[in-house]
Symmetry: C2
Subunit: 394 residues, 2 copies
């Protein structure tokens, strides 16, 4: 039995906060109507939905609650943003980055098979998109640029406002508007989202990354942005997302974002402190460790580290036996034996990339958790290295 | 204030059973890992998912749990079944019926704009699909036939096994297999689903129609049925439905179906009794009432009635003021002033169709509820008719 359970995989998913569960409960058994129904049961549900939408819009500084489409997850939001926009605008060309989440990358790969042109912009060694290449790739056909707000593996924050400025300038003289989408799944609840300040047209979030329930997300669609539904059915969510609204989930997500926004400064301060402690401990205690996260420009929750001559997967399993949960990359890509494309994009060689783990901190983590990791991890790395022919040959 | 609250709109949505909520709760705060994560938090979630999938497969008599894809709603299931199959098989021709739910009809309408050919088979006066027309419409290009199990407005049960037999016979000599999809959203939990006995390849359900939570559904995909994902991202659900699995929702849905299946006979008996009482009462107390539901072939929960010289919408609103929740048709189509296409398809003239309401019974309804409706409804119909110039001219 492990001495302690330490969950350091909060970028994969978080627990749902008890306050959030409590906010959701009435919508299972009491206020259970279909928000599309005309009678009072339906109207009570609709009122809850309207309130949640209004609140959610405020929380990300949208101009109007009409700009919020509730979805079933971040992946659906990303798909809807890109496919829905291209379909509505007869778009042809997409620009994205090499380190997007699979929800964007695989959507783009799919669209390539449908005849759309996609450019995948490279990033520098800290993971920041190369703006000069981005600018070069923009053509008259460019319809959408999709660049994530922060990366899920290394935590780097992309220069969204800068990209938005570039696009706005071009749009002022172009015939075909370029629309700007950002996947903010890793920043919602960690950075106070302000869609107007960011200057974006479309923004995706997912509740279960900020202590909300799984199975619910949102897409911000700026007024005037044409978008088609990608699922077909009833006229829910302004005709954009059919299916009976998941009121409990929507109320839960909104509550979770409200709580997270209220605590954003104190939580970031705590996370930064814990992350610094973890990093310093690792660098002091474990030789040949490489920090892949740029501390000057990343969400405070993520620390990505490579250990020379170690398999990340072995490390993960041995840490797990000691009660510590980390990941080798994105949970969505787990099970894959390929080295992370994100680490490859920042220039890590495949061998180093394979020796990498991601710690992602959350609100439940304590100094004691980090102390425990720093007690356990060096021994594990040492043990794995002792078994490694490469390490012993050094 | 109404003397009593009577919810008779259980086909629009149901409350979530407290036992179901209880089954879901651990997956918010305790077993909250991402089922794709390798560590114990993830594996605990994955175990819950695997168990739910196995149980769910048993509940609908699937051969293997691999045949179950968990989705975010019935609409997504329907879209995935039809679009996903056509994409994977390079299909060309779809056959469906005129009284499908919008999730199927609007998907087909969308596919027509993409160049697919769709035939919408008419139904007889009780809503049963015309099998001779269906047979005539099948061509070498036919890839999918999608016929609902029971209709959401009038409750009619379609001859799924018979259609399946026709298809099987044709498939035995055809080069291009015809696949058979049924939207079982209105029958799951009301008729014991047996996918093998029904002889279908694809079947959609939605949890919130059988006392499960909103925001979760399932698609049964028979082994050997090729299907492509319609959303793009991670490799969840056998590569068919990306996005972190909503474990709480999936566990809740499975629990709800298990409970419903266990009680199916007693509930149907009770519903049939209440429906009979409601029908007899209406026919005795309200002149010029027309029963649109075929009692010999329908789910026991639905009673669709037209009242001459009455606007269904007025009736709905006045019943609501007395605490009684009914609908004029599908909740998804509410707000529309068009007469129901389902009622039109069974031959009702537009005026009669406009004077229609649907009662849909559920497990919480009692004899007292029906007695209350029979106390209130005749007076309301009388009142509305008194204000009607048409009625007074008679």
């Amino acid at each position: 039995m492990a001495k302690r359970k330490v969950y350091l995989d909060n970028s994969a998913t978080t627990y749902t906060r008890p306050e959030v569960v409590e906010a959701m409960l009435p919508y299972y058994t009491n206020i259970y109507g279909n928000a599309s129904s005309v009678h009072s049961f339906g109207q009570d549900a609709k009122n809850a939905l309207t309130e949640a939408r209004k609140k959610f819009a405020q929380l990300i500084n949208a101009e109007s609650s009409d700009e919020i489409i509730f979805t079933s997850c971040g992946t659906e939001s990303d798909n809807m943003a890109i496919i829905g926009l291209l379909e509505a605008t007869n778009g042809k060309h997409i620009i994205t980055s090499q380190l997007e989440h699979h929800a964007v990358l695989h959507t783009c790969k799919y669209l390539e098979t449908c005849g759309y042109k996609v450019d995948y912009i490279p990033v520098d060694s800290s993971g920041i998109i190369k703006l000069d290449v981005l600018k070069e790739k923009i053509t008259d056909d460019t319809t959408i640029i999709s660049i994530m707000h922060a990366n899920n593996e290394i935590g780097v924050i992309e220069p969204i406002e800068e990209i938005s400025k570039i696009i706005k300038e071009l749009n002022s003289t172009r015939k075909n508007q370029i629309f700007f989408h950002t996947d903010a799944v890793q920043t919602a609840g960690k950075i106070k989202l302000d869609v107007q300040k960011l200057g974006i047209d479309l923004l995706s979030v997912s509740a279960h990354k900020f202590y909300g329930p799984k199975g619910v997300g949102a897409l911000y669609v700026k007024q005037g942005t044409k978008i088609s539904p990608i699922l077909h059915g009833g006229h829910h969510e302004n005709g954009l997302k059919p299916g009976t609204e998941n009121i409990a989930g929507i109320v839960g997500m909104t509550k979770a974002l409200e709580l997270a926004n209220n605590e954003i400064e104190s939580e970031n301060k705590k996370c930064s402190m814990l992350r610094e402690k973890l990093k310093t401990g690792i660098l002091n205690l474990i030789p040949k460790s490489i920090i892949n996260t740029d501390f000057s420009n990343s969400v405070s929750s993520i620390l990505n580290v490579s250990f020379e001559s170690v398999e990340g997967e072995s490390l993960l399993l041995m840490l797990d036996m000691q009660g510590i949960a980390v990941s080798t990359g994105s949970a969505c890509a787990s099970g894959s034996t390929e080295p992370s494309y994100v680490l490859k994009s920042i220039g890590l060689d495949p061998v180093t990339a394979q020796g990498t783990i991601r710690f992602s901190l959350g609100r439940q983590n304590t100094h004691e958790d980090i102390a425990y990791v720093l007690e356990v991890l060096p021994k594990i790395v040492e043990k794995v290295r002792q078994m490694s022919p490469v390490w012993n040959k050094r």
